[in-house]
Amino acid sequence: MSYNSMDIGAFKDVWVFCEQREGKLMPTDFELISEGRKLADELGVQLCGLLLGDGVECLCRELAGYGADKIILCEHPKLATYTTDAYAKVVCDAIREYKPEVFLIGASTIGRDLGPRCAARLHTGLCADCTHLDVGVGKYLEFLRENSTLDVAGMAVDENDRNLKMTRPAFGGHLMASIICPRFRPAMATVRPGVMRKAPFCEEKADAVEIVRAKVELSDADIQTEVVEVVKAARKIVDLVGAEYVVSVGRGIGKNTELGLRLAEELAAELGGVVGGSRAVIDSGWLSADHQVGQTGKTVHPKVYVALGISGAIQHKAGMQDSECVIAVNKNPNAPIFEIADYGICGDLFKVTPMLTEAIRKLRGEKARTVLACD
């Protein structure tokens, strides 16, 4: 029997691993803190952020403003830059000492490196890339009622089940699975960036932050990898995940990629959004990889997602199907993208896009004039 299955009742609180890079918090931290707040309230426990770094105390207040009661702060010069060895040791030491019940990590390239290493060391379960989390059975059933084809009414469930139900898509969203970790603690989950909604910032909550300085023990022998350099991509980073409007292009721009991209950029500029692309576009080198939407790219849930010349393979849909409104323009009336589109236009994107941009511009111009007239 491993140490953490003997008395799972000894494990309390919800923890969020707060990832920082070069002293700056990641957007996922706020999403996870906001989500963690809900889970902690349901369980009636505290929400703690676990922050590792060097000289990062100044970030604690910001984290608390989004809902953390307490920040467990682990500072050490060897934690300034991420290494699996140092981070895994400090995280596991802290978990063994304070015993959290739930531990959430953002599914960034770093979170997905750290999570499994820690879960294997602690002998506990880890669910990857979750898109929905529940504790209460009632709330979970409500979620199933809206998001599944299961017969919820006829389902036998244990009302007192306090296990974290970690729901994640498999096979590009064609199948969903809710995973539990009933016998071991903490129940660990990496959470897909861009899926959980950020709560509003609360000044009072931020001022009330409690900081717990954890003891950090690290020696040279603990670290077997050496980070020689960290290089930021020179190009501008596209904030696809945070954008409210995304105009994406697919293979359909192949006839004239330059014009296709320009038309997409014009529409995005009119809407105040950014340009994304399908994997075909990225693989062809028409757009850089940070523009990619889909299973192996970024997951987005903007207010409006415009798919120009995208067929709608499941791998692409996996990254955008939760958008509030999907508009698809495609020459092929049988393109699968129309199955999930709220509005579909079957036509040539090179003709339709400029007309759509113009129509929106005209309408916005009229709106602006009406407002002025009222003044």
Binding site: R21, T83, T84, D85, T109, I110, D113, P116, R117, A119, A120, T124, G125, C127, A128, D129, L144, N147, S148, T149, A170, G172, G173, L175, M176, A177, S178, I179, I180, C181, Q224, T225, E226, V228, V230, V231, K232, A233, L271, D290, K303, A313, C325, I327, E339, I340, Y343, G344, I345, C346, G347, V352, M355, L356, E358, A359, I360, K362, L363, R364
Partner: protein, 266 residues
């Protein structure tokens, strides 16, 4: 020096994914392929073999038909295949899977200058967990998301990708590296390789073969040894049919803009 590459046979999800009425995946309806990221790991191993003449062993946990995949990898240039297969291993989650694979690698033996390569993630589970968990169970360092790999003596220099750039990491062997598609373009099987692959050995490690390994214990493998369990699996409901605008002309675009404005979407 040898390189052990962990590979998985997966359903090809690039075609149509079929789901049974009960909400489980209809695997029979889909062709199987070698997981794409694992192919990059195999290619990385074969490149190092071209340079150094080292031995390459491909290892996979799965049902008996996965042996065919191992033979294909031998036809590409791998030297040996090991199939880890047994009823006792079925239903394993990533923790149990990595436990079993680590035990199999331990049985093969990991020397000071050896390397273990994995793909970043498998396209059926998409967890990206097994690689790091094997590394932890073997007590060796890991570097994930490898897009460039150089070996100088006992040190590997890895370009490790991040969302917004990359880091260069140095790590000593033995170590485990997970590979991504940016690393290389996998080679084809050679004709000679296809002829020879049937003569080469694919060893089968079943429960009997591994049961004395320190990592193998009935409580840490298979369905019973998995910390995570599936609580419910389900298919999402089909989304309601959207509105198609037929003309694809100016009037349509204006109508659409009007509807978006009316719903306060723009």
């Amino acid at each position: 020096m040898k390189i052990i590459v962990c590979v998985k046979q997966v359903p090809d999800t690039s075609g149509k994914v079929a789901v049974n009425p009960d909400g489980t995946l209809n695997r029979a309806s889909m062709p199987t392929i070698t997981n794409p990221d694992d192919m990059n790991a195999v290619e990385a191993a074969l490149k190092l073999k071209d340079e150094t003449g080292c031995k390459v062993i491909v290892i996979s946990m799965g049902p008996a038909p996965a042996a065919k995949m191992l033979r294909e990898l031998i036809a590409m240039g791998a030297d040996e295949g090991v199939l880890v297969s047994g009823r006792e291993f079925g239903g394993s989650d990533t923790y149990a899977t990595s436990q079993i694979l680590a035990a199999a690698i331990h049985k093969i033996g990991l020397d000071k200058d050896d390397i273990v390569l994995c793909g970043r993630q498998a396209i059926d589970g998409d967890t990206a967990q097994v690689g790091p968990q094997i590394a932890e169970k073997l007590g060796i360092p890991q570097v994930t998301y490898c897009a460039e790999l150089k070996k100088t003596g006992g040190t590997l220099t890895v370009r490790r990708m991040l969302e917004d750039g990359y880091m260069t990491v140095k790590v000593k062997t033995p170590c485990l590296i997970t590979c991504i598609k940016e690393l290389n373009a996998p080679r084809y099987m050679s004709v000679a390789g296809i002829f020879e692959c049937n003569q080469k050995s694919v060893a089968v490690f079943d429960y009997e073969a591994l049961k004395d390994e320190p990592l193998i214990d009935a409580t840490t493998i298979g369905l019973k040894g998995s910390p995570t369990n599936i609580f419910k699996s389900f298919t999402p409901p089909p989304k309601g049919v959207g509105m198609m605008l037929e003309g694809a002309d100016k009037a349509d675009c204006e109508k659409l803009a009007g509807m978006l404005a009316a719903k306060h979407i723009i």
